[in-house]
Amino acid sequence: MTTSRLITAMMVVAAGMLAAEVTIVDEVHGGWWHGVAGFELVIGFAGCLALVWGAKVLGKLGLQRPEHEHPEDEP
């Protein structure tokens, strides 16, 4: 499957889920944000970007080291 086809398929599924959320879901629990259509879609996308970006920054700050710096028999 090519990237463009996959993105198209994802957008179609997302649109279908948004339509279903607006028409089917009549009761939500918790904070006000649960009532915003497509909120979890945005959280999934933005949360993933933030998680990867945050982890990469931490890695660059010193959490990631070359393997040879930590041999097997170290304490």
């Binding site: 993105i7 990469k56 990631q64 080291r65 393997e67 170290e74 304490p75």
Partner: protein, 572 residues
């Protein structure tokens, strides 16, 4: 009907496993673990196995809804893990896994602190043996670090138990009030070490990936889940746990981004998933605590399935790093399917067991009143799907083909993965079966509502889209990730090494001094005159010895006389 303690069934099998080989041993292992599962299913509610020790009443077998639930999944996991490892020809490892499972069962069925602590110590020793059966230098070193941490955690726990005992005068294993003061804090920290709550967690990601393919599956199931059991039993509603759990869930997900080793990546997700359970215990509502128990049940199954899949890859290819793997779906289609079932389960995809248990905790978090806890758990869900549902399978099974030629896997590994996969799907399709066994019944929670299903699918779809955009930067790098253990590894090594060499130096000096005294005493005994006249020449034994030839001559004469005497006496 008299039903034995499930742990006793396993311990009884140990000497027979030690004395048998081949098919007999395999049959014995399956029979013992199956009998243990049947015993867990048939145990009647109530207290049994009551013995008295030092004036204290010990309850070895307390069966209620919580211990029954954990007993069921622990014994089921014992059976699945044993089947998975049946091809292994290491009797010692079988014994270690049997004892480890028995220790975990000893804890969850214990009605008092003394029995529970004994079970925990048994688990500690057996799990160390399992890690060392990894057989590598890295496994040996990780095992030492593992036992240092657990000795420290166990000591804190023991101190807390003694304090609590001195305060209330009994050792019943029940909810602890914050009024218990220092005892409350010490016991909580002791249990949190076993639950791998950051920053006390690094032992898990350090040691679990270094065990053997079978050993890691067992390790993933018991230590942290026993701790979750104790948290549910002792600390429901402790608010600090809600925050600790939510942070823990994200912590594991963040570190998994950086990880290149597939078993270490999955180990970080043990931390993340246990975070959900810890948060559920901290929220303390009926839904949250039921969710924590249900998620522990589900987690044992899907995490074992994921690690069995990763172990199968390691067994078949000898490789465990994302940078060395790829394109295995064609060569290992069944393992790929089983892994993906585990991935869907841990990611909370509807129709799998992770969905019916995790959604209880996320629903409880939306009613908890702390938006930050709910949001952290949502981000952790994103991370879980990103790593275990997308990154790991993409780069291991579907990514660039590295031309690997995996060897054929034993049938028992496939059977074990099939059993776990069937359980993941079965519970996902029939959540009522699990809900009927939760600590607080009846359960009115309905997982399959339009709201739950749609919001979950949206979260997964958003994550999937972001992964696809970033997939080229997520393929793993040949690096190691430094965790909190790096803060104490070197200082502890210096202290332990210093203590060992210091003790050796003291021992050596003591030895030298003792020898000197012994020499003086011996010299005095040989020549007492030396005491009153120290200037006299020291005793020299050679001065009084006859030459060797003279000695031989007289011995020969003596022998001749002896022989003649005997001969004459016989002749007379």
């Amino acid at each position: 009907m008299l039903v034995p303690h499930p742990a006793l069934v396993l311990v009884t099998a140990v000497p027979f496993v030690a004395l048998t080989r081949g098919r007999t041993r395999q049959a014995l292992l399956v029979t013992a673990t199956l009998a243990s599962l049947i015993a867990a299913l048939m145990l009647p509610a109530g207290d049994r196995g009551i013995v008295e020790l030092a004036g204290q009443e010990l309850v070895l077998l307390r069966v209620d809804s919580l211990s029954r639930l954990f007993g069921l999944i622990f014994t089921a996991m014992g059976l699945i893990g044993t089947v998975y490892g049946l091809h292994v020809n290491r009797g010692g490892e079988y014994i270690a896994t049997l004892v480890y499972t028995a220790g975990a069962l000893g804890v969850i069925y214990a009605g008092d602190w003394i029995s529970a602590f004994a079970g925990l110590e048994l688990m500690g020793v057996a799990s160390l043996a399992i890690i060392w059966f990894g057989g590598t230098v890295r496994a040996r070193m990780a095992g030492f670090r593992y036992i240092y941490v657990h000795l420290a955690g166990g000591s804190l726990l023991f101190a807390g138990i003694v304090l609590l005992w001195s305060r209330v005068g009994e050792t019943t294993l029940e909810r602890i009030s914050p009024d218990a003061g220092l005892a409350y804090v010490l016991i909580l920290i002791g249990v949190l070490v076993s639950a791998a709550v950051p920053p006390l967690h690094a032992w898990l990601t350090d040691a679990y990936p270094e065990a053997s393919v079978t050993g890691t599956v067992f390790l993933s199931a018991f230590t942290t889940k026993t701790a979750v059991y104790l948290l549910i039993r002792l600390f429901p509603g402790a608010e600090v746990l809600a925050w600790a759990g939510a942070i823990m869930a994200v912590y594991g997900a963040v570190f998994a981004v950086l990880e290149n080793d597939i078993r270490r990546l999955l180990s970080y997700h043990i931390i993340s998933q246990v975070g959900y359970m810890v948060a559920g215990v901290g929220m303390g509502t009926v839904l949250a605590v039921n969710g924590a128990a249900a998620h522990a049940f589900s987690h044992i199954l899907y995490k074992a399935l994921l690690l069995m899949g990763a172990g199968a890859v390691l067994q078949a290819t000898g490789r465990r790093k994302l940078t060395e793997l790829g394109g295995l779906a064609r060569a290992m289609p069944i393992v790929t399917v089983f892994y993906l079932i585990g991935a869907c389960s841990i990611s909370g995809v509807p129709l799998f067991n992770g969905f019916v248990s995790k959604s209880m905790i996320t629903s409880a978090s939306s009613e908890y009143g702390q938006a930050a806890v709910e949001w952290l758990l949502a981000v952790a869900s994103v991370g879980t799907f990103l790593h275990t549902g997308l990154k790991l399978p993409y780069f291991t099974f579907f990514g660039p083909d590295r031309g690997l030629k995996p060897t054929r896997l034993p049938g028992n590994m496939m059977i074990a993965m099939g059993l776990a996969a069937a359980a993941c799907i079965g519970i996902g399709l029939l959540p009522g079966w699990l809900y009927a066994r939760l600590p607080e019944t009846p359960v009115h929670y309905v997982p399959y509502t339009a709201d739950h299903v749609l919001s979950t699918l949206q979260l997964l779809l958003g994550t999937g889209a972001a992964f696809w955009l970033m997939r080229h930067s997520l393929g793993g790098q040949p690096t190691v990730t430094l965790d909190t253990d790096r803060l104490w590894r070197r200082p502890v090594w210096v202290v332990v090494n210093g203590l060992a060499s210091g003790t050796a130096r003291i021992g050596h000096r003591w030895q030298v001094r003792t020898l000197s005294v012994v020499e003086q005493v011996a010299m005095t005994l040989r020549s007492p005159f030396h005491v009153v006249w120290p200037a006299s020449p020291p005793y020299d034994a050679d001065q009084y010895r006859l030459p060797i030839g003279t000695t031989v001559f007289w011995i020969t004469v003596g022998l001749v006389v002896l022989v003649l005497a005997i001969w004459l006496r016989i002749g007379a």
